[in-house]
Symmetry: C2
Subunit: 343 residues, 2 copies
DNA sequence: GAACTTTCTGCATACGTATGCAAACTGAAG
DNA sequence: CTTCAGTTTGCATACGTATGCAGAAAGTTC
């Protein structure tokens, strides 16, 4: 099974040159004469030689590995982001080492330790926060961190999110303009900045119209919790006629409960608005009105922030917020003459 | 930014012992006295020392990295598998390095080259095939490969799939028993074994009942292609009254077309059956009858095969097929007295 | 306490590559 | 042909860890 590896020394021997020469041929930007390059490449070709990235990392201190920490891939937003992140980083010669965690500090800390053991060049956490101790450790070993879709008050952590407060506010405006006065909120997890900010935005938007949230339950970014919340809120006789659900993933569950359990019409009886605009939201079965998180631009910002730190030695912490449009579809009543931002 | 790393030498110095001693303390199963261990661990703790996995790999020839090659994460089956694979491997001290590819040989070969550069201990491809040349190269460097959810006629490649032929056959039986005689097939990509086997199973099952497939179009595992196929097949006046769609991901698109474009009732006018049983299939909006690919057991088989090769030096190639039950839900007419396999 | 076995420790070296330095070479200018 | 600058090459060493070997220490038995 185990087979003898072919190393730069073997190539050097065959080509009749020094090992350093071989190394230089495979190092972009090094000083090599054309005939040397040719000789070496021919020998390398013949032996099937390829540089050992790990050995290289040991010397250069760069592994070209980015650690991605992610809690759950059930919500379509994350596989989508993962795919885009991976593709974007690959184009720059980096690759993603995936670490699954449950969303509690202990688990994150443990896993993050393993991550650092791999000498990763940078860390992206997708919708996962980290303890201060951990942030300090990453800073201490010089590994930049970007929180993707999660904010945290730590002046060492970069972060890229959509403008969650503004998004919540926009949704409030939209619902009010649609004539809704009794508006429920099944919130994103209150332990996350995204959940809190969206809720705060909603409240601010409603307040501006002199309205208060009719009822608010924490949906924990979880289908079951959100379903239960929907049952509770919409079984009552004086039920609200609109609900903003903290993300699309929960909104689908809520719509299912409304339609198939409570036999309510969406949007006839209840308007439903989500947050994220995952691909599924545009499928006709749900046709969900939702605030789009521009994952392309979020990924772009994440990658360029990370590479800035890694390759250009940048060290100013970025707290990037990206605005997204409200995607108007069929799950919520559309106010007369409401402008379609997507155009 | 760059910070001085703490190495085993530093720890050794502080603890007043040799570097080897430090190494041994961090190597499970090495011979160390209790007081030595205590001294070293104390010093390590104080300095925040953790072994450098890369340097260790260089010596041991084991990176504890598994390369995962995957084409697209849009189909919910794959993020789900990725999550489970990652969690399972993590439990064994391995981690997943993700490589996204488009599904053509060139792209796969290029990416797989990079993969080998990382000295991965093993490779899993999710629904991606590989060229013979590549299989040879992996074999040559002693890196085991497991094809997850994809078969290929190569005696060097392990593979784990569901029993696709039998699944297709089961579905044929089910539809026939339901009284359907005019049965369409929107097939999985004919360039993949899964697509071909499911189709062959369907045809065999129908043939046993003296029926031929009414119409068959390759859906390419793609939503748009499948939608177009559904439009074509079900716009005709003498349309079929049942369709087996090659996977759930396409089946959702097909149901959307049937219901929302063609205003057909599912299952009243048309029975729809999918393949995979992704989480979304059980959500009330689709409530899709589908053949379950037991991803838990598939992941288990994949991991144990891989670890067998890596850790126990196994070298018998596994071609594992796992049977899955038909999940009976509301998208297809249920034959009288049909036994529910799920019980 | 001697003789022996067992457990532990340090020394030295190896893994595969990158890079500073000095020597060797190249070519142009005088 | 000499001189000099610029380019290319090889030598030696370093990165951080694991491990075979031999010697030291500890434990066992009589």
């Amino acid at each position: 099974m185990r087979v003898e590896k072919v190393t730069s020394v073997d190539v050097a021997k065959l080509a009749g040159v020094s090992q350093s020469a071989v190394s230089r041929v495979f190092t972009p930007g090094a000083s090599v004469s054309p005939k040397m390059a040719e000789k070496v490449l021919k020998a390398a070709q013949e032996l099937g030689y390829r540089p050992n990235v790990l050995a290289r990392s040991l010397i250069t201190g760069r592994s070209r590995i980015i650690g991605l920490v992610v809690a759950y891939l059930e919500n379509q937003f994350y596989p989508d982001a993962l795919e885009k992140l991976s593709t974007a980083l690959q184009a720059h010669g980096y690759h993603i080492l995936v670490f699954m965690v449950s969303n509690d500090d202990d688990s994150v800390d443990k896993v993050m330790g393993e991550l650092l053991d791999y000498q990763v060049d940078g860390i992206i956490t997708a919708s996962v926060g980290m303890s201060n101790a951990l942030a300090a450790r990453c800073a201490a070993v010089g590994v930049p961190v970007v929180l993707f879709n999660r904010g945290q008050d730590d002046e060492r952590l970069n972060q890229v999110t959509s403008n969650n407060f503004e998004g919540g506010r926009k949704i409030a405006e939209f619902l009010v303009a649609g004539g809704h006065r009794k508006i429920a909120h099944i919130a994103g997890w209150s332990g996350s900045s995204t959940g809190r900010d969206r809720e705060a935005g909603l409240r601010a938007g409603l307040k501006a119209a002199g309205i208060d949230v009719a009822v608010c339950i924490d949906g924990m970014y979880n289908r079951e919790t959100a379903s239960a919340a929907a049952r509770e809120i919409f079984s009552a006789a004086d039920r609200p006629d609109a609900v903003f659900v903290g993300n699309d993933h929960m909104a689908f569950a809520v719509m299912d409960v409304l339609r198939f359990e409570l036999k309510l019409d969406v949007p006839g009886d209840v308007s439903v608005v989500g947050y994220d605009d995952v691909p599924l939201a545009s499928w006709p079965a749900y046709d969900l009105t939702t605030l789009r998180q521009p994952s392309n631009r979020m990924v772009e910002a994440t990658v360029s922030t990370l590479l800035g730190w890694i390759e250009e030695g940048s060290n100013d912490v970025q707290k990037i917020q990206i605005d997204g449009p409200l995607m108007i579809r069929g799950s919520a009543r559309v106010p007369e003459g409401w402008p379609d931002e997507r155009l």
